[in-house]
Symmetry: C2
Subunit: 406 residues, 2 copies
């Protein structure tokens, strides 16, 4: 069993770097604060005798040797960058749970066959630099190192420059690094475990997602003198698509998701009928077939609305991630560990993307979820219970030991 | 008959002050450009022998004496301030049509019994300083001179300071100025005349309006991990109210109007379910009873939606103008002049507020509408046909002569 208090203290200490007034953390990728956070974690790793390597995109791997040098490492990890109004647990928990596993093994003098590694991946959040999950994306070859280096923040600073500046542009070629199995412990970022009063979520898969930009073009006109039947009100037409987005998701329970999160209205004046409305659509499902069906339904609805209203409607898919089922061996290891330890549990499909979906392209992978308060994350009030964090870390310990061998 | 070419040339000359690249005009109230516009119109008035007085809120009155000094003047006017992306005709047409009436009377040596006056009112648009229709509002006592002076633009400059700076803070007490009858010629700012292929709109009344701010409060949460049935999506609830706004207007044809023009979504992020949505509602009708019914229906719908969804919904009425029927004598004078001159015509209820609704509180008032291209105003592409502007000015001439007596 791991030491829950030591884990909690490490989380609280790391959370001081970039701590916000409201109790959250602002530690954007590749800033000075990110460097301080990285330095602290690396310092802790070295104190535990781990060997630290850094790859060219700044992913950090902290290795505890195994007894059989021919075996690839069993890796765990996550990220320590945060949202601008982020919390203490998102990502950070997965990294420090890995460190706590190592501390426990060292304390007990337990040797594993395969090496044990704790990783943290660069710029998972994507708040400062797009694309999201950058470090793990480059690692698995989803996009190139050059693409990642060229990404710039709003001030025009590039990933390449900032990696060098903070001293985390390593030597290792990303992906040039065999992985035997990968586990990622994470707060759920949703309300399902809390709602069902369970402690451990076994994660069989991560949902796929389709992101769209939709623009409706009508004709701006004065709200008073323009009779209802002569209007081309872009917002009224946009609202039918916004509502259909949710209706589509509701037709494919339990894993259908439909969200309109971002809306811009032009000219956005109280007495002007909107001429243009631009908004985002986010569709998700755990089955690629159903996600494709949902994609077809939003396209068909837009097509029909275009025909019926005569307004211009542009729908562009801007992102697509297929669903990612995790490897039965890893899912099974998590499930077995949870049962052995006697925690209440249920399967929770991850609705959010994680570094694990990229790592899963190269190696067997799985995730462990613990509840977070009210399902809230990406928010300074993000919170989690010490007992739940401890439980998730115990499951991680047992699952890794099963895969690594003693 | 007036001189259509001279009228057009005056419009084009005034439109050069603050001309924009796209062919519009940006001449915000009480700026240096407004001063230049005012100076030009006053110079033209003086060249026609008119006596110019300015009141404390900067309204300018340009008087041609009558043969009977005991009669109050027959006044026409409008405004020369524009929207930030305004056109050449909104307001400016009413002022220069008045000047053209005077030029025509001078040219023909026609003496009227009552004096003839051309007025321009300060800050009708309300783009730089709130409230709108400020000069005519102070003139009729709708709000005080002190309230108006205290209004500040985004840079913190006040109406009082700016009036002094540009030299248009006059001596006369606003409203201390009898008016026998008031006519205002204006582009329609809507598509009704153009749609019906008519030249002159006789304006029996201006619609009343109710403006609201509505805020829906749900719970922001991650778009992926939050199941549909556990969401409190503020945008989805807001869209039902947005759609009901239009449905209410459609239940009260032909003069019901319902518009949502302004929307703000928080946090406005692609993968976050909106926690707050704030939007405007604009309801209008020409009957105060129906406007009240519409007001009751939006309140009832919000109440029902609050009950059914459990989300917080705040609805505040932020402005209310009752409908303004114009005086039968003035409406009759416009109608008679139109018929005498043989222009195609129809009644057009004004959907937009105008200085005339404030002046109507003190004196008989009426308006003359001419078509504008595609019904578009408050836009740099605002356009109108010289022949229509000439026709409206001829109607103004005849209507004023009828009320002033020859
Ligand atoms: N974990 C997380 O918030 N990922 C961002 C991408 C997504 O919206 O799933
Ligand atoms: N004429 C005009 O645009 N007035 C502004 C107030 C309104 O929306 O009616």
């Amino acid at each position: 069993r791991i030491n829950g208090t030591r884990l909690w203290n490490a989380l609280m200490e790391l959370a001081q770097i970039g701590a916000t007034e409201k109790g959250g953390v602002k530690r954007l990728a590749l800033t000075d604060l990110d460097r301080q956070g990285r330095d602290l974690v690396v310092q802790w790793a070295k104190a535990e005798g781990l060997g630290v390597t850094v790859d060219k995109i700044g992913n950090v791997f902290m290795r505890r040797v195994g007894t059989n040098p021919s075996l690839p490492p069993v890796v765990t990890g996550s990220h320590i960058d945060t949202q601008p109004t982020g919390g203490k647990f998102d990502g950070n928990y997965g990294v420090l749970a890995g460190l706590e596993v190592v501390r426990t093994l060292n304390e007990r003098g337990i040797r594993t066959e395969a090496p044990i590694e704790v990783a943290f991946w660069t710029n998972e959040e994507g708040s400062r630099f797009v694309p999201v999950m950058m470090g793990s994306g480059v690692f698995c070859g989803a996009f190139s190192l050059e693409t990642a280096y060229a990404a710039r923040d709003v001030d025009g600073k590039s990933v390449g420059e900032e990696l060098q500046r903070i001293g985390y542009q390593g030597e290792q070629t990303p992906g040039d690094h065999p992985i035997g199995a990968y586990f990622e412990a994470h707060i759920e970022q949703g309300p399902v475990l809390e709602d069902a009063n369970k402690v451990i979520g076994v994660v069989p898969a991560v949902m796929g997602l389709s992101w769209y930009d939709c623009t409706v073009t009508g004709m701006e006109a004065h709200a008073g003198p323009t009779p209802m039947h002569l209007r081309r009100d872009a917002l009224q037409v946009a609202t039918t698509i916004m509502r259909e987005t949710v209706a589509i998701a509701n037709r494919y329970p339990p894993y259908g998701r439909g969200t309109v999160g971002m809306v811009q209205v032009f000219p956005n004046s109280r007495n002007v009928i909107p001429g243009h409305v631009k908004f985002s659509i986010d569709l998700r499902n755990v089955s690629d077939e159903l996600l494709n069906t949902m994609h077809g339904e939003i396209e068909a609805f837009v097509e029909r609305t275009r025909r019926e209203t005569g307004l211009g409607i542009d729908l562009q898919r801007v992102s697509y991630y297929p669903p990612c089922p995790f490897h039965p061996d890893c899912v099974g290891a998590v499930r077995a560990a949870t049962e052995r330890l006697g925690y209440s549990t249920m399967d929770v499909v991850s609705g959010a993307g994680h570094d694990a979906i990229y790592v899963a392209r190269l190696a067997p992978a799985g995730m462990i979820f613990v509840p977070c308060k009210d399902g809230i994350s990406h928010n300074e009030i993000e919170d989690a219970q010490p007992g739940h964090l401890e439980a998730g870390c115990n499951v991680l310990l047992h699952a890794m030991l099963e895969r690594a061998g003693i």
